[in-house]
């Protein structure tokens, strides 16, 4: 049976169809999960895609965190289910406390829409399992608040525990320690600012994002997730 991916959609999310299509083309089945739903039962992995959830009012992710579905996402994550937040999804996961740190306005105060090189820094996460450390991937970014920050103690923990999953080769937004993506302590929740779903077809200029999404699907094999309700 194909791996089932739930793509969580908030009002204002705008990358859900891209994410659905990208994982479908890698052989998974995918559905959009509405933010008002209170269950994510039946899914082997969850993706929180990009956009402007709840208009990004107050702060990106600040209102989305209180959407009903987030309780189910939290339970799914606590039980070890793979969860990936892309761009706005990363912001939602930090606001929800599922990932450390926060995303603040880009250094230079510019909205950035370009393709960047990111380097895989750890193969020990659901998004990078099996991808060799040092692999450089060309993946688009598209954000205003992508400048990752955290306090010094948190940064030390992230480094010591090998939880910086991706770093920018040439830091575009001022993120501390060039961080483009991090994972939680259990390594099953990953957030990243670049958009792998936008680098999943030769027509889009790069297929490097498929490397990450493929790793996510491999991590989400139904057998590995049998206990996730």
């Amino acid at each position: 049976m194909a791996t089932r991916v739930g793509v969580v959609m908030f009002p204002g999310t705008n990358c859900e169809h891209d994410a659905v299509l990208a994982v479908q083309r890698l052989g998974a089945s995918a559905d959009i999960v509405w933010h008002g739903d209170t269950s994510v039962a039946g899914y082997d992995a969850l993706v929180l895609p990009g956009g402007f959830a709840h208009g990004d009012y107050l702060r990106p992710g600040a209102i989305a965190r209180f959407s009903p579905v987030m309780e189910a996402v939290g339970r799914f994550a606590a039980e070890g289910g793979p969860v990936v937040g892309i761009c706005n999804g990363f912001q939602v996961l930090t606001e929800a406390g599922l990932l450390p740190g926060a995303l603040q306005k880009n250094r230079g105060l510019r909205f950035l829409c370009t393709t960047v090189s990111v380097r895989v820094e750890s193969s020990a996460s659901v998004l990078t399992a099996g991808v060799p450390v040092g692999t450089e991937l060309a993946i688009p970014i598209n954000h205003f608040e992508g400048n990752y920050t955290c306090d010094r103690e948190t940064l030390a923990v992230l480094r010591d525990e090998d939880r910086v999953v991706l770093r920018y080769v040439d830091n575009p937004n001022g993120s501390v320690d060039d961080i483009a993506g991090v994972c939680n302590g259990a390594r099953n929740v990953v957030g990243l600012m670049p958009h792998p779903e936008r680098a999943s077809d030769p027509l889009l200029g790069s297929v490097d994002g498929a490397v990450l999404l493929g790793a996510l699907l491999a991590s989400a094999e139904p057998a590995a997730q049998a206990t996730v309700a």
Binding site: L58, R59, Q104, R107, G108, N147, T149
Partner: protein
């Protein structure tokens, strides 16, 4: 039994010291271009005003602080300051 009083709340949210404030920095850099020199230490932030009905000022402050901590500010990067005062009687009388 006394009915609850109304209190006016002001919550100011600003970035923590040490967190880069590109908006404040940009404003500060723009001021000399307007011929307004000598302005330093510009920090940007947000202000929220709302009313709370509570039995006393201490309860109003307690609730306002929870609102500020749980929603209005992200403690990772922001701090908040909460001010509570009895609501001024405004508007036409009935």
């Amino acid at each position: 039994m006394a009915s609850p009083e109304r209190f006016s709340v002001l919550v100011e949210v600003h970035l923590r010291q040490g967190i880069a404030d590109p908006q404040g920095a940009t404003i500060e850099r723009a001021l000399p271009a307007l011929g307004l020199g000598g302005v330093t230490g510009v920090r940007s932030g947000k202000a929220f005003r709302f009313d709370i009905a509570a039995d006393d000022e201490a309860s109003a402050l307690a609730l306002a602080t929870v609102v500020a901590d749980r929603l209005l500010a992200n403690p990772v990067i922001e701090e908040s300051a909460v001010t509570v005062a009895p609501a001024a009687v405004t508007g036409p009388t009935a």
